[in-house]
Amino acid sequence: MATSIEEKPDFKWIGKSIRRVEDPRYLVGRGGYIGDIKLPGMLYTAVLRSPFAHARIGSIDTGEALEVPGVVAVFTGQDCKEKMNPCANFGPPTITQYPLAVDKVRYCGEAVVAVVAESRYAAEDGVEAVEVDFEPLDPVVDPIAAIGPGAPVLHEEHGNNLAYERIFEFGEVDDAFREADVVVEDKLHWGRSSGMPLDTCGAVARPALNGSLEVYCNSLNFNFFIWLVAAALKLPSNKFTVIPVPAGGSFGSKFFAHKVPTLAGFLALQTGRPVAYIEDRLDHITNSDHHGSDRYYDVRMGLKSDGTITALDVDVVDDYGAYLQFGVGTHGNSLSQAVGPYRLKNLRYRLRAALTNKCQQGAYRGFGSEVQNWVLERMVDKAARQLGMGPEEIRRHNFIQPDEFPYKIPTGNIYDSGNYPAVLQRAIEMLDLDKWRTEQERARKEGRHIGIGVVTTQERSVFSSTEFWFWFDKPAFPLTSSPESVTLTIDPTGEFQVQMHSQAMWGNSPETVAAMLVAEEFGVDPYKVNVSYADSAHSLPGTGPGGSRFTVMIAGAVRGASKRLRAKLFKIAAHELEASEDDLEIVEGVVRVKGVPDKSRSLAELASTAYFFALNLPEGVESGLEESCTYDHPYTTLPSDDRKDLGVFYPFMGHACHIAVIEIDAETGTHKFLDYVAVHDAGTVVNPKTLAGHVTGGAAQGIGSAMYEELVYDEDGQFKCSTFMDYLIPTAMEVPEFKLGHVETPSPYTEFGIKGGGEGGRMVAPAAISAAIDDALSDYGVRITQLPIKPSEILRQIETGTQS
């Protein structure tokens, strides 16, 4: 499946489709997720959630709840306010949050009271018995209204509902529009969906014997931000240890999900006992850390009459809900690839972040860049239609060419490498586009509506931390690190241990990646490498998975640690073999003198010497075989002071072309996939089998966001989809077979040339589907401008189109 278009080094393991080393335990029910942890004396938590979108919290009567058999304690927001600091916050300091609402509730489902009991059943009984007096306030649900005059204010201390506003301008935007032959405009809305993993967020906190607090937790990024959670709990960071637990899916939703571990930690500190807080589905869907982007766009694109795109003007209002998880970081992702794969020089980006009476939003696979992809592709398609160009024609015309890399885009970010025409060509060939166009014509004569959507988008990978703060002229903490670490050990019998310093298994294949890389470095069997995960008390610097960074970063760290370990092995072997270190090589787990294969030492022999025969070691060499490496982001630069150049912050630029062939039933507005091709360039592919899983899974989630999934609030702010009967995750019936292909343009900046690919198809599918539906119903002038695309909307547009 993976096909190289360039000369590739001769890897032994990298590039091989091997089955995952993690897998066996999951096939027998031994995944060991957060809900599977039972500690002696553990208490369980249930949470009373706000039934109102916006209300003042009056008196809370917990007396009856405390009488419920099994209930141990009941806590309110007031308890939190008195005994802890506000939660970790990356937004304006005037917007504070506690794990239980203080004084006011700001959305339906917000946690108000926590009941801790001997069982979850008793805790739920306790919640039933709590009486809260709510004094309802006017809610504000529409983000445009929220930042307009006279709207109810969510955070009085902040003064209004505008959490952030700024206009970034790159190039000469007004001049470009003045000189454009064609200007296309549109209003677009990307609706709110979320990662919605089957395994919710959870934490088990235990006051440990040494006076520290231990928290088992499936939140990611725990050791990068851990001190923030400790600070919220008023603990010194060295008295707060997070023990990583496998996440049953995240897709962004567990990306530093702080509310759950903070609440569990607080409850454990207050009761002095181990406390579990595992979100149930209702907790998660209404009150998680991460709903996805919810953006309203006014966009203009300027072009020359030959189809050359010259300018893009984006005015976006993002509906952040009631609190800010990551500030406006999801727009940094948009800016990292704002011009897509196109040679577009002039860009204006106005961002307003609105506060509304909804759950907060944060990360979902793509972290906001997938939205920019959809918007840009929608505009390219609209321009193509207006200019009478084919979708592939306008894209080819505007592509950054393979000989232009590294390429600096107007925002200042660098695209490291790519071959966009090759990706498009591969997709066209795999689909047999001409065949489908012929079939489309034929079907149209029969009154059937087949559409073909061709889109080409970027797939940025490996963020730098500068994107956390370049929003502000005077950032409070302008950090520049986003490292990842690995500790590599050869044990006394010659077996390999890899310790990672981020999160436990979260659905990627961290163990397979690490084991394959170790196998590549030392010529050993990847299935014999053991992988473990450090807790935060023992961890080296790490940033955790997210932004498709893990494989690139862990490859760098494994490579670094391997070099150090190999150097030590060679020192010991050279001493034993009376050879020069320079003459040694390592082949299939044996260190030998080049050209003299029988002058060798196995890893087991060298390990034995290293651990047990100190007198045989060369001078200055310590016992043991363990080396660590902390690998920093390989290409980060600072933004300019005037923010006309945001610096390099997301440079390893993947790319993809999806072509969706969809038939629409014009009577019902329903759809059927007839074909679907997805070609990705994620640089050097480490394991085609697992990458295929990510492309497929991402594309399926893209289908969900494009056609099924929507977190709906009505005009009163009531939450309308609190179950999977309302929030529609694609099942086996909705996800088609994908034809997958790869083009590999290795990154010049990363070890092995790897680029990230974990967010996969979600970066692309919504644009391809929208384009295919437009194309299927072009006779009616249908144009998709909002997601999710509902059959009712398709029918409405068909009706409008028929009448005109």
Binding site: R19, R20, E22, D23, P24, Y26, L27, V28, G29, R30, G31, Y33, G35, D36, K38, S119, R120, Y121, G195, M196, P197, L198, D199, P246, A247, G248, G249, S250, F251, D280, R281, M505, W506, G507, N508, S509, K689, T690, A692, G693, H694, T696, G697, A699, A700, Q701, T723, F724, M725, I729, P730, T731, A732, M733, V735, E737, F738
Partner: protein, 147 residues
């Protein structure tokens, strides 16, 4: 209430309130945590187990309704479809996998494997958020002998 279940071939007596679901009895009382809770409303299939050979959502039934029933969970499953899942990369995070496997084994026993479309329909009660569906279908297809 005391209820006798036969779980994975062994007799287990559990003392539960009448309102305790079979899922919670298995996970919380008996300690077999392989069966997963994804929605607790019968909408995701993560808790699929076999009761007297039939696949059901363990969250939608009470433990006390199963006096004397033969219950098989993922911990008691020994079926070729497990190996097929491994070979076809039929999961990523693994959370839905116990339910998928229980459902797949039953789907095969029921013979609902005549075509990919049939497999998809009869596996559609088991949500996989990682969307390994094409790979799950491939695994079931292989064991059904249609590969």
């Amino acid at each position: 209430m005391r209820v006798r279940l036969r779980v994975n071939g062994a007799e287990r007596q559990v003392d539960v309130e009448p309102r305790v679901t079979l899922l919670d009895a298995l996970r919380e009382v008996i300690g077999l945590t392989g069966t997963k809770k994804g929605c607790d409303r019968g909408e995701c299939g993560a808790c699929t187990v076999h009761v007297n050979g039939r696949r059901i959502d363990a969250c939608m039934t009470l433990a006390v309704m199963h006096e004397g029933d033969e219950i098989t969970t993922i911990e008691g499953l020994d079926h070729p479809v497990q190996r097929a899942f491994l070979e076809h990369d039929a999961f990523q995070c693994g959370f839905c996998t116990p339910g998928q496997l229980m459902s797949a084994a039953a789907c095969l026993a029921e013979g609902h494997t005549g075509s990919d479309a049939e497999i998809r329909e009869w596996m559609s009660g088991n949500t996989c958020r990682c969307a390994a569906y094409p790979h799950i279908v491939a695994a079931v297809r292989e064991v059904a002998g249609r590969a």
